[in-house]
């Protein structure tokens, strides 16, 4: 294995008037995992894309093994052995898994694309995650038919298929479940031993401390420090990322007053995935939903919101209801914050303002009082600390985490009575998470009933006083009070209640 060392110095990238990267620096080498940290919109993805030739910097220098380099195109970076798992994924929905993975480097036989070879090689890549995905994920499956975590796996395998010397993982773990993450980290350890260089972007600090060797921190587009992981602390890194951090306190909710009215009661809810779910949420309660990813949590929330068909009993605000369409749920003051912003949440080319106001136009009268709507929009943008050039910028100009904040913000603006949250903090930085948590607490204290699914155990433990753990389409365990500990949560997730 030849040595590999890539350094970026003083990289600058602006979009019109917006500076995405003001002074980006990075130093990666073979056999090392470098974490790239920073708040939402701090320039992590931009810096990554400069390395893969997707974004061309305004200025700055790249040095590869001592020689100056310039990646004018994705092909050029690929030639140099660099590939990436992109945060927003780079998959073509109507092509198959195999076609996506081998796009632009299809295995040829006599000059023609060999489907047989392509299928075989795809299968052996998929085998790396054997047992950790659905049976319908085959080389011939279409990307449109896959779940978000499966798409993420395909994107990872695609980057790997280029046999890179440097692989960049931009929030590659955000939609994976615990076991998939474990497997990925096993692989990363192998790659590292084989002399591959790895750059990892993640907002989950425990992952950084598990796998990274060093960390490079960006703040407002500038590299503000580099630390060796073994010699630093979570606190130090967070303080580098966010000025005046430290206010990341977590305070668990008190048990809800049993005198509060029941906002939602569900009996025997069934869908193709759910096998009979019972639950009750009271006003002012923040009820957690846990368990491994894909155990039916999303289905439950979607069914409650009328977005997928279900059978069973549902009592909302004291009335037997069964929503057949999200419109009906919205009319009954129910809101759902989806987890997959790309496909469920946003009109990408429309402005941030339009996206924020879309679900609540009705409450601004006819004709619409635009000024008032803008005021509200600005307030929520401020509360969620959105990094953006203006409310009128299109959503696709936002960083991944900031786009997710728009998804959250637009539903909060409706002031719902029952709030359904489908893993809403995926890809959101530590600072904004803290803001979001305090927002949730405020809502709860004002009497909103909240059903909160999170793939992050810490989040459930820090916010909820009662957590329903789901397994295989059922609520397998209910944890509250003293029984609500990390250990219990993990063992319940595995389907082994103790």
């Amino acid at each position: 294995m030849t040595s590999f060392r890539l350094t970026v110095e003083k990289a600058v990238k602006t979009y019109g008037g917006v500076t995405a990267l003001a002074d980006g620096n990075l130093d990666v080498q073979a056999g090392t995992v470098t974490a790239l940290l920073g708040a939402n919109g701090s320039g992590k993805s931009t810096l990554s894309k400069i390395l893969t030739g997707v974004v061309s910097p305004n200025s700055g220098s790249i040095t590869l093994n001592g020689a100056p380099m310039r990646f004018a195109s994705p092909q050029a970076a690929r030639q140099a052995g660099i590939s990436a798992v992109y945060q927003e994924l780079s998959l073509i929905p109507d092509l198959t898994v195999a076609e996506n993975i081998w796009l632009a480097h299809e295995p040829l036989k006599n000059g023609f694309v060999s489907r047989t070879l392509m299928r075989q090689r795809t299968q052996s890549l998929l085998d790396l995650f054997a047992g950790l995905y659905n049976r319908h994920l085959t080389p011939d499956a279409l990307i449109t038919d896959l779940t978000p975590d499966e798409r993420q796996l395909v994107e990872i395998l695609k980057a790997l298929s280029f046999d890179p010397r440097l692989i960049i993982l931009d929030e590659a773990t955000a939609s994976l479940d615990g076991q998939q993450v474990n497997r990925l980290f096993e692989l990363v350890t192998q790659w590292k031993a084989n002399g591959m260089a790895i750059v990892m972007v993640s907002h989950r600090m425990e992952e950084i401390f598990r796998i990274a060797d060093k960390a490079s921190v960006l703040r407002n587009g500038r590299t503000v420090g580099e630390r060796v992981i073994a010699e630093t602390s979570e606190r130090e890194l967070v303080e580098l990322m966010i000025e005046g951090a430290g206010a990341l306190h977590r305070e668990r909710a008190p048990l809800v007053d049993p005198a509060n009215p029941v906002r939602l009661e569900v009996r025997g809810l069934k869908t193709s995935v759910l096998h009979g779910v019972d639950l009750t949420v009271r006003d002012g309660e923040l009820l957690g939903l846990g368990g491994l990813q894909g155990q039916g949590q999303s289905d439950l929330l979607m069914a409650l919101f009328g977005a997928i068909r279900s059978t069973g009993q549902m009592i909302v605000s004291g009335e037997a209801r069964h929503f057949r369409h999200p419109r009906q749920a919205m009319a009954a003051d129910v809101a759902l914050v989806p987890g997959d912003r790309g496909s469920e949440g946003l009109l990408l080319i429309r402005s941030i303002f339009e996206n924020l106001i879309l679900p609540s136009w009705g409450s601004y009268g006819t004709p619409i009082r635009v000024a008032r709507a803008r005021e509200k929009g600005a307030v929520i943008a401020e509360e969620l600390k959105m990094v953006m050039s203006s409310l009128d910028a299109p959503v696709n100009s936002l960083s991944g985490g900031n786009a997710q904040k728009v998804v959250i913000g637009k539903w909060l603006l409706r002031a719902p009575k029952l709030l359904l949250l489908n893993d809403p903090t995926k890809g959101i930085d530590v600072g904004a998470k803290a803001e979001f948590y305090s927002l949730l607490r405020q809502l709860r204290d004002r009497g909103t009933a909240i059903l909160f699914y999170s793939s992050d155990d810490d989040e459930l433990l820090g916010l909820c006083n009662r957590v329903l753990v789901m397994h295989d389409g059922r609520v397998s365990t209910e944890l509250f009070g003293d029984r609500l500990t990390h250990e219990q949560l993990v063992s319940a997730s595995m389907g082994t209640p103790s």
Binding site: V54, S90, P93, D94, L95, F112, L132, G294, Q295
Partner: protein, 333 residues
């Protein structure tokens, strides 16, 4: 161990339709043939069949070229004008006394002009980054103008032996003949099947499916788009050749009304107007359907106002087909 979030298993019917959208058009084509046959009982005999297919050949070429552009996410509104232009060139250059060599030169000149036109479209879309609709609509006037400059009035006459070779069925044995157009169509289908196994086909579909993702993955998206406009112009020129040989003369306005039908045929054939999905076999079927509907109207002795009405209905139906396929798919889930 297993994650169980919403596995989408499709029934075989749903899958067949969603992977081969042109199946629906095939069914439509068969219905059209049955109706047409009822009105014109000698329709499938060699003489009438040869004539019907021959008149459809130019439209088939146009639709095939259009398919490439549409799959890659664009549209070419200049194909009709390119056909007019190259038809004019051919008609002026191949005089009645033309030798085989002169005819060949004329064809090469027409091809060069056609490809030049395609390059201009490609330049507008990929280098100047103009909208495909705007670019090709604008250039269509240039090409239409050139056509009129070369051949102000319909005219010209091609050598008889040249046209008769193209017009008559190919006599394979004393008792068996086959329309030349049918051989051409077969060749075009083979061309597509071969192309389907190349990298270019993957690039084409990736570009139309999600150009940003394709670019990020290393597909030279601009080059692919440029190539589709070249292909579309190339096929328009072949269409002009088929028209010139078929009619034996030139008409500077020949393609004026052929652009929109080419798009309709493409959509009828199951190619998605937004790009990323499609197939030239479907487009060929689309042209046949449109042609047969024309036949039915003329044989059915319907009033002249029926024609535009039917055209409008076809366009609506064509646009509705993807929706119908989606519905079939959902009902089958």
């Amino acid at each position: 161990m297993t994650t169980i979030s919403a596995p989408k298993t499709r029934s075989p019917i749903g899958r067949t339709f969603s992977r081969n959208p042109f199946l629906l058009s095939l069914i439509l084509l068969i219905i059209m043939i049955v109706i047409n046959r009822a009105l014109q009982d000698n329709m499938l005999e060699i003489g009438p069949l040869n004539g019907t297919l021959r008149t459809m050949m130019p439209a088939i070429f146009l639709a095939i070229g259009q398919t490439f552009v549409v799959i890659a996410g664009g549209v070419d509104l200049s194909v009709g004008s390119i056909l007019s232009m190259t038809n004019a060139i051919l008609a002026v250059m191949i005089t009645q006394e033309a030798t085989a060599d002169q005819a060949l030169v004329a064809i090469l000149v027409a091809l060069a002009a056609g490809l030049g036109a395609g390059a201009l479209n490609g330049f507008g879309v990929t280098v100047l980054r103009l909208q495909p609709i705007v670019t090709t609509y604008a250039t269509s006037f240039i090409f239409a103008g050139i056509a009129l400059r070369i051949l102000p009035e319909p005219g010209g006459r091609l050598p008889r032996d040249l046209t008769s070779f193209y017009r008559n069925p190919l006599q394979l044995s004393e008792s068996f003949a086959i329309p030349l157009s049918l051989i051409l169509i077969t060749l075009l289908v083979i061309f597509w099947l071969v192309l389907s196994r190349t990298r270019f086909k993957q690039f084409l579909f990736a570009t139309g499916g999600n150009a940003d993702a394709a670019y990020t993955t290393g597909v030279r998206v601009s080059r692919v788009k440029f190539t589709t406009y070249l292909l579309s112009a190339l096929f328009a020129t072949l269409g002009a050749l088929a028209l010139t040989l078929g009619t034996g003369t030139g008409n500077p306005r020949a393609g004026e009304l052929m652009t929109l039908p080419s798009v309709v045929a493409v959509v009828l054939g199951g190619t998605r107007l937004a790009g990323g999905q499609g197939n030239i076999i479907g487009s060929i079927i689309g042209v046949l359907i449109l042609g047969l509907i024309g036949n039915i109207i003329s044989f059915g002795d319907l009033d002249s106002w029926v024609r535009p009405l039917v055209d409008a209905l076809i366009i609506i139906a064509a646009l509705a087909i993807p929706g119908v396929i989606g519905l079939v798919r959902r009902l089958n889930q």
